[in-house]
């Protein structure tokens, strides 16, 4: 276990520091959440009001927004930004690479 011997004052300080960090992180999560709602609204907006915006622009735009939202989810909600996530993220990106190849194939070299 990682619990070391500490005297009472140190324990209290360390504990308070942890609580502060946790609370700070939680604030980040809420901000992330609000941003994600915002991104979702923009995507929906772009589509609903697509008489004013050309289709050629809307499609890549909402895809980009989706990717940004997923990055937020991964790095904030799923703690991928924390220490100890290097290998999981390496494998995740490898999976994304294989996924990308699959999708690329199906939208380019499948006859219509």
């Amino acid at each position: 276990m990682t619990n070391e011997q500490m005297n009472n004052v140190n324990v209290r300080h360390a504990y308070e520091f942890r609580r502060k960090k946790s609370a700070e992180e939680m604030r980040h999560q809420v901000i992330t959440f609000v941003l994600m709602i915002f991104l979702t609204l923009i995507s929906f907006g772009a589509v609903i009001f697509n008489e004013f915006i050309p289709v050629k622009f809307v499609l890549p735009f909402i895809l980009l927004l989706a990717v940004v939202q997923v990055i937020f989810q991964l790095y904030y909600f799923m703690h991928a930004s924390h220490k100890g996530h290097e290998l999981p993220m390496f494998f995740m990106y490898s999976g994304v690479f294989a996924a990308f190849l699959t999708i690329l194939a199906m939208v380019t070299i499948v006859w219509w």
Binding site: M1, T2, N3, V11, R12, A14, Y15, R18, R19, S22, E25, M26, Q29, V30, F33, M36, I37, T40, S43, F44, A46, V47, I48, N50, V55, V58, L59, I62, L63, L65, A66, Q69, V70, Q73, L74, F77, M78, G84, H85, L87, P88, F91, M92, S94, G95, V96, A98, A99, F100, T102, I103, A105, M106, V107, V110
Partner: protein
């Protein structure tokens, strides 16, 4: 012995989910599983994109309704946030609040599923757009249905955790279980972001 070890909020480790070898293995194993699921859903997305509108008299831009999809998205997105709250409380060794927030997550997830069931029912009865109707419909229902099945499995998982551990409190044995369940839940939300973008939004644009 893992089950017996008693903690206080001060002595509870910073990352309880990876304090034991079992926890470390579950953590890594689950992230790897999510990598594989990424490729799985990508194959489903890829097929959907190849078969979009194919063989169907009713097209994507006639079928999908933004209001319903927006409501479902809000429910799932919020449930993702509530699961983050739950893990926040787990890190603070607050068992009751963690359970409460997971329970709210389950309610929101169940709401999402209810809307999805209604949505499918609506398609089948109003538009005669069933699983067997066309290649497009088969691809649509398989992609969105697989996601829905994953949501259902996640709900069952979290409910099982809540019930099983209700009398135990938090310890180093169940902390990894809650953590991986919340990772799974976030991943389902990630997949939904792509579903509402690629299937519904892109479908509505035409």
């Amino acid at each position: 012995m893992k089950l017996d070890e008693k903690f206080t909020p001060q002595t509870w480790p910073v990352s309880p989910e990876t304090q034991t070898l079992e926890g470390k293995n579950k953590f890594l194993g689950f992230w790897l599983f999510l990598g594989g699921e990424t490729v799985l859903f990508a194959s489903l997305f890829a097929t959907y994109l190849a078969l979009k509108d194919s063989g169907s008299s009713i097209k994507a831009n006639e079928l999908f309704d933004p209001v319903l999809v927006f409501a479902m998205t809000m429910l799932l997105l919020t449930s993702s946030l509530t699961s983050v709250y739950a893990i926040y409380h787990m890190k603070n060794y607050n068992f009751k609040k963690m359970q409460a927030w997971f329970f709210i997550t389950v309610l929101l997830g169940a709401g999402f599923l209810a809307l999805e069931v209604y949505e499918f029912y609506h398609y089948v009865h109003e538009y005669h757009f069933g699983f067997k109707s066309s290649a497009f419909s088969s691809a649509y229902y398989t992609l969105v249905g697989t996601h829905g099945a994953h949501v259902l499995f996640g709900l069952c998982w979290i409910i099982t955790l809540l019930l099983r551990n209700s009398k135990r409190g938090l310890n180093l044995y169940n902390a990894p279980k809650y953590y991986t369940a919340s990772l799974y839940w976030h991943f389902i939300d990630v997949v939904w972001v792509f579903i509402f973008t690629v299937v519904y939004l892109m479908g509505m644009v035409g």
